[in-house]
Amino acid sequence: MNQSSDNALNTSDRHLQRRHRKASLFSSFCALITFMGVALLALLLYQVCVDGIKWLDIQFLTSFPSRFPARAGILSALVGTLWLISLIALIAIPIGVATALYLEEFSKKNRLNRLIELNISNLAGVPSIVYGIIGLALFVRGLNLERSLISGALTMSLLILPVIIIASREAIKTVPMSIRHAAFALGATRWQTAWAHVLPASFPGILTGVILALSRAIGETAPLIMIGGLTYVAFLPDGPMDSFTAMPIQIYNWVARPQHEFHQLAASAIIVLLAVLLIMNAAAIVIRHKTER
């Protein structure tokens, strides 16, 4: 009798131990997988840095592309990307923020506005290459803008508009109602309230979203290839109607070649691209951090 109850205690004890062992195994397994995933991504970056450091110097930043790896550089791609980003910012930020303001501050919750909201979240999921095709048919061929900077910028603006709108709406939503009520109570109109109170209060959040959207635009390759940003450009664009190349296109061009030297050049260009992205993301994080306090 005593013996059997002892046994029962032992088995339930063992059962409990097994359950706890399973739990601790599971938690270590999850931790291991997480750090393996991060390590894998770190390996990617490490690989790029090792390959790319060789060609990375002032000459690389100030030369045009060339058939000879030693003379090749990314000046035209870098300038093209700067042009592109400035144009995209000019087009997409005003429209995106205006849309967000309209949806959050002005619109009534009717069917049209619900349709707009649903539509924006679906547009955010459309593959970038589809935007490229639309840009090709609409801007390059339809409006006869040719394979120019402005075609690329318009296409990319369509691509990142949903991102800007969604981020700006989130930022505007965090502005407390009491600020609006105070403004209305003092006799301000809707626009005066939105412009002078809601917009400044949500500015850091909007800025963060805009920076992240622009950094997405910097890295997008497929739409620009569709638009036909030239791969060999040995001049700098003077205006929005000029043809262009951009960093991701140049990288693609170099990666797609079979020679090892060009792969190294691609790695160098990737380092420059990632550095630009990192600076932008760091700015976004700093802004977010400052406003959280």
């Binding site: 359950r19 706890h20 739990a23 938690s27 999850c30 997988i33 997480t34 393996m36 995933g37 991504l41 990617l44 790029v48 005003p94 429209i95 205006a98 849309t99 309209y102 949806l103 002005f106 619109s107 506005n113 707009i116 539509n119 979240s121 679906n122 547009l123 999921g125 459309v126 593959p127 970038s128 290459i129 589809v130 490229g132 095709i133 639309i134 090709l136 048919a137 508009l161 709108i165 109109t189 809707r190 626009w191 890295g219 997008e220 390759t221 497929a222 290839i225 569709m226 036909g228 991701p248 990288i251 693609y252 990666v255 797609a256 792969h263 691609a266 990737i270 691209l273 993301n281 994080i285």
Partner: protein, 313 residues
């Protein structure tokens, strides 16, 4: 007496203003301008659909829809040409399936670790790093595939081709991994703490709490993140173009060169197809198919989020 007479005109003036609700033209103009901006998104969608349909219809005037949807040979540029889209769809499915096989288990395990086990300090470093990694341009993953993954695979499987679906699947899997991890982490963290406390109070271990309480409660968000990642993998272009090659192929193994829908679009556009030709129209038909597939996945993921969300207060 005379003071009211003096005041009356002033008073009536104000009353008129309030009662008639004068239209402020400036305000009206601004509001219309903002509404116009909001309409751009609707116009964008309309333009996408109109362009894809228009070119698609003229394509289907030359090629029977049955040949396009059920044909198993995709030879659009050479004679005799053949326009069966299945090889491209198969290539996309192969890469997406492989990517999901890699990204879903790793991503989910990371999400569970981050939301259930990681200390605040670990979490606040790993999460931003993952978010940063999610922003790496896809062409970089293409580079990684060609210069690192494929040579590595070649030493393990000597018979593998230079361009192969395996390498594409691996890098696309790595690419969507941060997305699954961060979105699922958000979903699991939204599960209220009281549910966990209840499970622990009943004597459940952390494993049992996670798998039998937290995961089922956050399942809608987790499933939505899977679907979004799959949709992203289907639309992914540069990495698969560089890694998986340009051979439309219905191979069953991951070891041969294939071509995805997106890679085909890039190949044709690099060749500068003349407008109006059949090759040019195939771009739009393939893009339309891509658009419909990803749209369905996105709508499905939103539907799951709304329909199966466990609401806790």
């Amino acid at each position: 007496m005379y003071s009211t007479a003096l005041n009356r005109p002033v008073l009536t003036d104000t009353f008129i203003n309030i009662n008639k609700r004068t239209i402020r033209w400036g305000e009206f103009l601004i509001q219309s301008g903002l509404a116009l901006c909001a309409l751009i998104s609707i116009i964008t969608t309309a333009v996408i659909i109109i362009i894809l349909c228009k070119e698609g219809f003229s394509f289907f005037q030359h090629i029977a829809p049955a040949e396009f949807f059920f044909g198993t040979r995709w030879v659009p540029l050479l004679e005799p040409s053949s326009f069966g889209v299945l090889p491209l769809v198969w290539g996309t499915l192969l890469v997406t399936f492989g990517a999901a096989l890699i990204a879903i288990p790793i991503g989910l395990a990371s999400a569970i670790y981050l939301s259930e086990y990681a200390s605040h300090k670990v979490r606040s470093t790993v999460k931003p790093v993952l978010e940063l990694l999610a922003g790496i341009p896809t062409v970089v993953y293409g580079y990684f595939a060609l210069t690192f993954v494929t040579p590595l695979l070649k030493t393990i499987i000597p018979g593998i081709q230079v361009f192969n679906a395996f390498s594409g699947a691996i890098v696309v899997g790595i690419m969507v991994l941060p997305m699954i991890a961060t979105l699922s982490d958000n979903a699991l963290r939204a599960v209220p703490q009281t549910l966990r406390q209840g499970a622990y109070a009943l004597g459940a271990t952390s494993y049992e709490t996670t798998t039998q309480v937290v995961l089922p409660a956050g399942l809608s968000g987790v499933m939505a993140s899977f679907l979004l990642a799959i949709s992203r993998a289907i639309g992914e272009t540069m990495a698969v173009t560089l890694a998986a090659g340009a051979t439309p192929n219905m191979s069953l193994t991951f070891l041969e060169s294939i071509q995805t829908m997106t890679a085909y679009i890039v190949q044709i556009s690099l060749g500068d197809a003349p407008a109006g030709g059949l090759a040019y129209q195939t771009l739009f038909v393939v893009a339309a198919l891509l658009f419909i597939i990803t749209l369905m996945l996105n709508v499905l993921s939103q539907w799951i989020l709304n329909r199966y969300r466990e609401a806790y207060d």
